[in-house]
Subunit: 457 residues, 2 copies
Amino acid sequence: MTADTLLDLSRSLTGIEMDTAPQTLAAYGSDQGPVLEYVNPLAVVWARSVEQVQQILRWASRTGTTVVPRGAGTGVSGGAHATAGCIVLSLERMNRILEIRPEDELAIVEPGVINADLNAAAAEFGLMYAPDPASYRVSTVGGNVATNAGGLRCAKYGVTRDSVLSLDVVLADGTLISTGQETFKGVAGYDLTSLFTGSEGTLGVVVGITVRLRYLPVDVCTIAGFFPDIESAAAGVLAVGRARVQPAIMELLDAETMVALDTAHGSNLRSRGAALLLIQTDGYGAAAEADVVRSVLGELGGQISLEGSEEALQLVDLRRHSRGDAIHTEHRVGEDVAVPRSRLVSYIAELNRMAREHEVRLKVVAHAGDGNLHPTFWVDKTEGSAGLQRLDAALDESIALALAMGGTITGEHGVGQFKLRWLAQEQQEQVLELQRRIKAVFDPAGILNPGKAILTS
Amino acid sequence: MTADTLLDLSRSLTGIEMDTAPQTLAAYGSDQGPVLEYVNPLAVVWARSVEQVQQILRWASRTGTTVVPRGAGTGVSGGAHATAGCIVLSLERMNRILEIRPEDELAIVEPGVINADLNAAAAEFGLMYAPDPASYRVSTVGGNVATNAGGLRCAKYGVTRDSVLSLDVVLADGTLISTGQETFKGVAGYDLTSLFTGSEGTLGVVVGITVRLRYLPVDVCTIAGFFPDIESAAAGVLAVGRARVQPAIMELLDAETMVALDTAHGSNLRSRGAALLLIQTDGYGAAAEADVVRSVLGELGGQISLEGSEEALQLVDLRRHSRGDAIHTEHRVGEDVAVPRSRLVSYIAELNRMAREHEVRLKVVAHAGDGNLHPTFWVDKTEGSAGLQRLDAALDESIALALAMGGTITGEHGVGQFKLRWLAQEQQEQVLELQRRIKAVFDPAGILNPGKAILTS
């Protein structure tokens, strides 16, 4: 069966780049999410054009082969993990910026364009592509669309969905459709653009993306505030809101995160406080807003960086690039819940209680402006399955509590494969069923990225 | 049949307010959109609770009665027009603000809450609900959700969809579901919230809405610029963008609109220029941005209002409330296309050519910040059907040209019933078919607002 399929693949898709070498299959068999059970794909194919994606999906439909679409493989929920009998369809070589139209403030790109490359090209026109996941230097815009990626600047500029105007999508049967429009506003028909955004390649393969660009800010001010405890730092988040300042970035780091940064970079953050709040204001009001932020945080007992602090800027860079600190002697799982903003403090307090009770290690960073937390839990690998069980128990409890507080199991990483086990806790059966039926409208044979994003039974 | 249905209605739905008086049916038989063929509903029912909406839809499903959900009836595309054999389900009496949570920066409301009432309540906490359609003093939040309403502040704050976090929806069979989450970010499952937003009551009846609130700006500056021609005013729109100023409001009014305002209010706008640009900046950077705007517009030859101009503010108010100037001696149709920003000038020039060629009158206002235009075409009623034919021909040509420029047939009003005739020009058959199949998932019997929003064949 496998050999037949592969033979048919290579005969049918002449001219399409593919590889079945073991090291390639291994490299493309998973993304950066936790792997529950490692599966090799049958083959990896790289599309270079819309037509090739159509050819590949027509072939997959004809042969009943499942297809896992993949950008740069930087997802952290297993949305691009291979599943049994699949081919991996890599979009990374469809990486042309097709058009930047500065006066229309939009760009049209292929899905494999790296987020940072789009930003570099837009910057030449004084523009930016706002969504900035921590992976922005390596992740693709198509992958960002597939997961509806967030990032640091979301509180002010919105998530990926808020920047996507139009999508070209190849459906499971090879049909090419266009959704949305090239204008900032448009309400013709149902919002298929938003439906595809965040659907993790389960409804179609995104082959073209029109995004709205925003203005590169004329000024940026960065403030670092060291606090004696996480409570006062979190109070700072709410106080900045009450002062009616909308920061572009508002990151909250707990004491353990500060220790980790100190260890990695030889800094002395932890000695200066037990919580760190990093705030960036931007635009014409940046300096005035920064003054207000410094004043408000100072009143709460924070040690606040001075105007024009180089260190504050470096700390934001450090935070921005602090993703993916895999340590081979540990089992680590990074979480991605969101809670209503006012619950940040109590949620973090409860996380610490859970970590103590389950005897797991914990550090927490949060995109505090929108209540999106990334707790990382870990245990030593030497503990074996006992450690893994405690890790899982802590994860389960942390998710349940986020939901009880009116939160969500995933703020920006996506459900993928890894978070499926919690989805039914968040969404009622009727909602799960509607999603299954929508999936069936777009992909009746179920060949697109099975076992991801939605619960299929 | 009708009498039987009505008898069944009154027997089955005891305790639910309903009315079948001719004047009530007439008042609720249409919204403010053009009426192609007037149809009376069988009855008007008013729900007071989620349970009553469920009861009504269960009854409608059982009897196969079609249901037209309705907010305040201020839509302008006929999305709430009655259709043959329908009941109108008014949500206007479900008008409680259930909760405002200032620290979470969100509000939970019933669908019948008036947009302005929510804003007044939020203002007590220094917050605002950003979407501000011209009808905001009379339209409901539920109606705004149904049409994904826009408004003046969209360029900076986004449209309705960008403020909706979560929806409670009663499906056609009476099932109550919740979509989305109470957090600013969330990517669990498909984005059903965006799917319902703008679906004009064809997929379900929205009975509860959680919206994100924004900060009431600490400062607002208003600039009025009079220009010798529409070209230089439109150049001003792009120049403000190049200066990296993101105004909250950027309205463009043509000469005919200025004449209309002069006639209605005794002002002398037209004598001061042939195009008017109204710009509002807000937030901590408002004053600095306003300085830049005045400087940029002055360089283009505009006569610019001075700092703190009372008149500029009055003009924005005038513009905000200039909607719906129905004149009984004329046939008027207000359009709602959007084009990429750079095409504003050439599109307006073409509109004027069309008006001349088709011998119809024309005035144009635009939410210029996002390329959304509201041309109003009209002819004298004394001309009879000849005038109407020329009016229709001008409309058709204006739509076709917007599409040819990469635009859309509706920026913010919705397709409703009136714009259905142009939908297939914008969307390919496969996209129309996907929408039909999504409709079938949510409302297999087709009882919800038939003949609106999507092409059913």
